[in-house]
């Protein structure tokens, strides 16, 4: 099983809210994600999917269990070590895009390379990533000058830049209209076709239907884990003029 990108075993996470209340957000999660998978993580609010997402992205550390990301045990790493892991292995795409408003598109994309990698290739690789998401002509636009879909594509370009082991998308279409959503999903599908591992948190079944595998969470545990027989293709839907999430 060493060929897994993600290997979770018995992951637990407990939050303390105020002085008295404790929330068992994760109660022993086992999960394997293999290279080139496209996994949707679904579940109602409070099911623990956001916590799982944070643990997967090394933004947070589990209380118990083991987590091996791309062959590296990340359980007991320091903050700075986790930062390097995020930089190398995880590409984040957020619901609210999370671009820096005072930087233009290409500067936003370059950001991961500022914290790792050398400066010479930076511009070149950022440009290549932007072209990959179809924004080669918008490199000097600021986020405020771009549409939501375009901003999310800049965010995807940023996530791609360090050639991470996994792209982690948290409700990437949550703020987008159906047409933009379809465009974003088609980019993910295209990247997945090229061999990228994508893990996407969503609560929309229509979005999840584009993935190859759906993991459903309930009460801090994985309730269902099944393969999608025939994932929908976002490109086809764009061609037919219908949105993805309708």
């Amino acid at each position: 099983m060493t060929d897994s990108v993600v290997q979770l075993r018995g992951i637990t996470k407990t939050y303390r809210i105020g002085r008295e209340i404790t929330v068992n957000a994760l109660r022993g999660v086992d999960l394997d994600v293999r290279p080139a998978e496209f996994v949707a993580i679904m579940g109602p609010s409070g099911s623990g999917k956001s916590t799982l997402m944070n643990v997967l992205g090394c933004l947070d550390v589990a209380d118990g269990g083991t987590y091996i990301l791309a062959g590296e045990n990340v359980n007991k790493l320091s903050d700075d070590k986790l930062a390097s892991i995020r930089n190398k292995h995880v590409g984040f795409v957020f619901q609210t895009y999370n671009l820096l408003s005072r930087l233009n598109a290409i500067e936003n994309v370059e950001l991961p390379l500022i914290y790792g990698g050398d400066r010479k290739q930076r511009r070149e690789r950022a440009l290549a990533a932007l072209e990959q998401v179809g924004l080669g002509d918008r490199i000097h636009h600021r986020p405020s000058e771009l549409s939501g879909g375009q901003q999310q594509r800049v965010a995807i370009a940023r996530a791609l830049l360090n050639d991470p082991s996994m792209i982690l998308a948290d409700e990437p279409t949550g703020n987008l209209d159906s047409r933009s959503s379809a465009e974003i999903l088609s980019i993910f599908q295209r990247l997945n076709d090229m061999g990228k591992t994508v893990v996407m948190v969503t609560h929309e079944p229509d979005v999840a239907a584009h993935c190859k595998r759906v993991v459903r969470m309930r009460d801090g545990l994985i309730a269902h884990d099944e393969l999608v027989p025939r994932p929908r293709r976002a490109e086809d839907e764009i061609a037919l003029g219908i949105g993805a999430a309708e």
């Binding site: 930062a83 390097s84 190398k88 930087l103 914290y115």
Partner: protein, 426 residues
């Protein structure tokens, strides 16, 4: 993260918030400018005082009479009249080549002077022939009187440059005759004013221009041979008001001081130096006292500037805290894509240092401009305003240090933020 990127990122965020950056920087600018201007004025004042003291002649040891003490009883009021021309000769004989020169003086009071239809009122002092050497005071024209003039109580005079101008205008006074008049028997009223002594003096030289010392305009005076003053003007034979010895260098000035003191103690038959009827002071003491005063003065001015610099620093801290708060989300994003604590710390620290460093440089220019403006004030026109490289280095160093000190806490707060909480921050 490379330092270059930290700098770029810091400057970018300063440029984005132009007004805020400028206002924050203003605190540091004013602080640094205040330090520079105040210390420069202080240093200038101190140098001006030193120049003034050295203007009296350099390496001087001065002997003045003090109240005589008789078995512990200090004489009241007037100074003892125990200092004589023989004391000076004795000092000259005993110290020989170890001193450069010596002279003795007797004040002869103020006299009404007339010449060529003009008149003026000025002080007359009897001095000995080495006066120009001791005082480092060259002659503008003519010659100083000689030993033989002193030996024969010659009625010759050397004029201060202002006195010469007052009496003779553009004409060269050398060879001219002046009349010294002193009214006696009343303050110049009625018939009494008619009774006056009138003495003719031949002008042999004019002293160079020296400027004023402590408000005393030293160019308005007349010097005559000491013996002439004693015998013709005052009638106080043998007595002198002060003896001035020029040590051969500033290194020997302290030795000369104690030598002079010992010689006079022996001559005056005084066992206990505490009850000496004379006082010996030297220029080093005067300079040290003066620089202690001006040093305190400069320190005080610097402290005032320092306080405004401190206030500026607190302003920096305030704004940096606001900035960290505002950019919590940005910090979260940067951390998510791989920024380490040190990267975030550097970014905010460099931002603070850029603010204070730039403020420091502008402050130095402003401070320099202020000293130029101060120079335009007539009262300060001949005050040398000294901006030393030391002051500049300290000012820049201190402002950068303020950036570090006051920027560190906000930057640490930023670096410690948890990525998830930072990303969720609205």
């Amino acid at each position: 993260m490379k330092l270059y990127d930290s700098f770029r990122s810091a400057l970018q965020s300063l440029v984005v918030n132009k007004l805020r950056s400028a206002l924050t920087m203003l605190g540091v600018i004013i602080g640094v400018a205040a330090v520079i201007a105040m210390v420069s004025v202080g240093n200038g004042a101190s140098q001006s005082v030193q120049n003034t003291i050295l203007n009296l002649g350099s390496n001087l040891v001065t002997v003045t009479p003090q109240n005589a003490t008789d078995q512990g009883l200090r004489g009241a009021g007037a100074q003892a009249q125990t200092l004589t021309i023989d004391d000076m000769h004795s000092i000259q004989d005993q110290l020989g080549d170890s001193i450069s020169a010596a002279e003795a003086e007797q004040q002869a009071g103020r006299w009404q002077i007339t010449a060529a239809g003009q008149n003026t009122n000025t002080t007359v002092t009897g001095v000995t022939e080495d006066y120009p050497i001791v005082r480092d005071w060259g002659l503008e024209s003519g010659d100083f009187f000689t030993t033989s003039d002193i030996n024969v109580n010659a009625q010759v005079a050397v004029l201060g440059s202002t006195t010469a101008t007052n009496l003779f205008g553009d004409i060269d006074p050398v060879g001219q005759t002046i009349q010294l008049r002193q009214a006696f028997g009343g303050g110049g009223q009625g018939a009494a004013a008619q009774r006056a002594r009138i003495l003719n003096f031949r002008v042999v030289g004019v002293l160079g221009t020296k400027g004023s010392t402590f408000g005393l305009i030293r160019d308005d005076q007349i010097v005559v041979p000491l013996t002439t003053a004693q015998h013709v003007l005052t009638g106080q034979l043998n007595r002198v008001n002060q003896i001035v010895i020029k040590a051969s260098s500033s290194d020997t000035i302290d030795i000369t001081t104690s030598d002079v003191s010992n010689i006079l103690l022996v001559r005056h038959n005084i066992d206990d130096p505490a009850s000496a009827d004379f006082a010996v002071t030297n220029q080093n003491d005067t300079l040290a006292a003066a620089s202690a005063v001006t040093g305190t003065f400069t320190l005080l001015l610097g402290a005032i500037g320092g306080i405004s610099l401190l206030v500026g620093g607190i302003g920096i801290m305030n704004i940096m805290l606001v900035s960290v708060n505002e950019r919590t989300r940005e910090i979260g994003i940067r951390k998510a894509v791989g920024a380490r604590r040190g990267d975030i710390l550097n970014q905010f620290l460099i931002e603070a240092i850029a603010l204070t460093g730039l403020g420091g440089v502008i402050g130095i220019l402003l401070g320099w401009a202020i000293t130029l403006v101060v120079h335009q004030i007539p009262q300060a026109a001949n005050l040398p305003l000294v901006i030393t490289s030391g002051t500049v280095i300290i000012a820049v160093g201190v402002s950068v240090a303020i950036g570090v000190v006051f920027g560190l806490y906000p930057a640490m707060r930023a670096a410690r933020l948890h990525p998830i909480q930072a990303l969720r921050y609205e």
